[in-house]
């Protein structure tokens, strides 16, 4: 099964690298938005502002990535090719989530670096922020892949995706808020909460994927 998952992820990266412009479009968004947010943080003398900006970017990247996972495969009919293969739907979902995670993490790290450079602050390199970023991007990747799989058949998916991703991300906002506020001391329980929420959602989505993708 590991071989099939790796083949699926490798194929997705190959396809995405050939498209180029879609990744570049989101990187352009991250760069421009980072510059704008950093300028605000720098001029308002509130450097901590870059922290919630990073979470917001991760959320937007998740919305973008949902368009290039299941929805793209469905629109190009390649999903039917995948469904003809002897691969369990949960394997496809797992591979798509890992692929989403790697793209979301890469772009979030680009955002982190740009926010830090433009605002001349290094708050984002604090270990707790990095740990939370690693977990939050995994959570966002899970809901992004799940949402993409769920709404791909719908005509109203452009509207449904951001709404669903925002709603599903709400439970994870509490630990994000506490790690973002300098006046609140960092609490390791927030990391555990994020870890528990991420793993719970991922495994529930993995189980449900069997019913969403299969006849």
């Amino acid at each position: 099964m590991a071989g099939k998952i790796l083949s699926l992820i490798y194929k997705d990266f190959r396809v995405e690298l050939r498209r180029k412009h879609e990744i570049l479009a989101s990187l352009a968004f991250v760069s421009v938005a980072s510059l704008a947010m950093s300028l605000f943080a720098y001029r308002s003398l509130i450097p901590e502002f870059v922290v919630p900006s990073l979470w917001l970017f991760t959320l937007f990247i998740g919305i973008f990535v949902s368009m290039i996972t299941f929805i793209s495969e469905y629109d190009k009919h390649t999903l039917e090719g995948l469904r003809l293969l002897p691969i369990r739907p949960s394997t496809i979902f797992f591979a798509k989530t890992i692929y989403s995670y790697l793209i979301t993490l890469f772009e979030s790290l680009v955002a982190l670096i740009m926010l830090s450079i433009f605002s001349s602050t290094y708050i984002l390199f604090k270990p707790e922020i990095i740990v939370v970023l690693l977990l939050f991007t995994l959570y966002i990747s899970s809901i992004s892949s799940f949402t993409s799989m769920l709404v791909m058949y719908s005509e109203g998916r452009s509207f449904l995706i951001p709404v669903l991703i925002f709603i599903l991300s709400v439970p994870m906002l509490l630990p994000l808020v506490s790690v973002s506020m300098p006046m609140i001391p960092f609490n390791i329980m927030d990391v555990y909460l994020l870890l528990a929420g991420t793993s719970s959602f991922f495994f529930v989505a993995l189980a449900l994927s069997e019913y969403v993708l299969e006849v």
């Binding site: 083949s7 396809v15 390649t78 039917e80 003809l84 293969l85 002897p86």
Partner: protein
């Protein structure tokens, strides 16, 4: 899976889109290997038939059985079946080689040569000259040839082909019919066709008997038994 059971059995298959029943109470058993044509006008439900039988579409009523196993979630072996669909299901951004490598890898093959019939089709359809071309740069006919090779990779016991000759030139059509005739000696091959002339040409080129069913008003009738 019971290899003693008929390869394909349709039990009361119906499919409804809104209020319109495209397929109605289809009951049919394909007992063994052979070459079968499903002939019908545009919109008669041929593609729906193929997609239901290959597990891509859920019927509104009834069940399909592949070697005795119901074609539904987790209940059947997908290695036994493959399908050539009307649409290209391979990746436009990848080359023919990269696409085939991906599908071969999933089926556990190291190279195309290991997939006997796929390799035969690859050679016969002359795809080697476009091996390193991206699919997006190929014409519809060449993309179709690549898809034909793809659907033979697992040497399926049941092969469905939705209008396989559309987009192919005379030479490729003749080679494909030859290949399918040979393949149908040991496997069940079911293809759809909407044009009477295409069907006639297919039958003339085939070296084996073709059993034809007419899909009309949602029902499947024996149109001509043997040619």
């Amino acid at each position: 899976m019971d290899m003693g059971s008929p390869p394909l059995r349709l039990e009361n298959i119906g499919k409804r889109y809104g209020d319109n029943w495209v397929l109605k109470n289809l009951n049919l058993t394909f007992d063994g290997p052979g070459l079968y044509a499903i002939y019908g006008d545009n919109g008669s439900g041929k593609t729906t038939f193929i997609k239901i039988c290959s597990g891509l579409l859920k019927p509104s009523s009834g069940r399909v059985y592949v070697y005795g196993d119901p074609v539904e979630y987790g209940g059947w072996d997908k290695r036994l079946v493959n399908a050539l669909l009307h649409e290209n299901v391979m990746y436009d951004e990848l080359t023919v080689r990269e696409n085939l490598d991906f599908y071969l890898g999933i089926y556990g093959f190291g190279s195309l040569e290991e997939a006997e019939y796929a390799y035969k089709a690859f050679e016969s359809l002359g795809l080697s000259r476009y091996l390193d071309y991206r699919l997006s740069s190929l014409s519809y006919g060449w993309r179709k040839r690549a898809n034909i090779v793809r659907c033979l990779i697992n040497s399926p016991k049941i092969l469905f082909l939705d209008e396989p000759t559309i987009g192919l030139d005379v030479d490729a059509t003749s080679r494909l019919v030859e290949l399918l005739s040979e393949y149908s000696l040991n496997n069940l091959v079911i293809f759809t066709v909407s044009d009477a002339e295409d069907l006639k040409q297919f039958i003339e080129l085939s070296s084996v008997d073709v059993e034809v069913f007419r899909l009309e008003d949602g029902g499947l009738k024996h149109w001509r038994v043997r040619y």
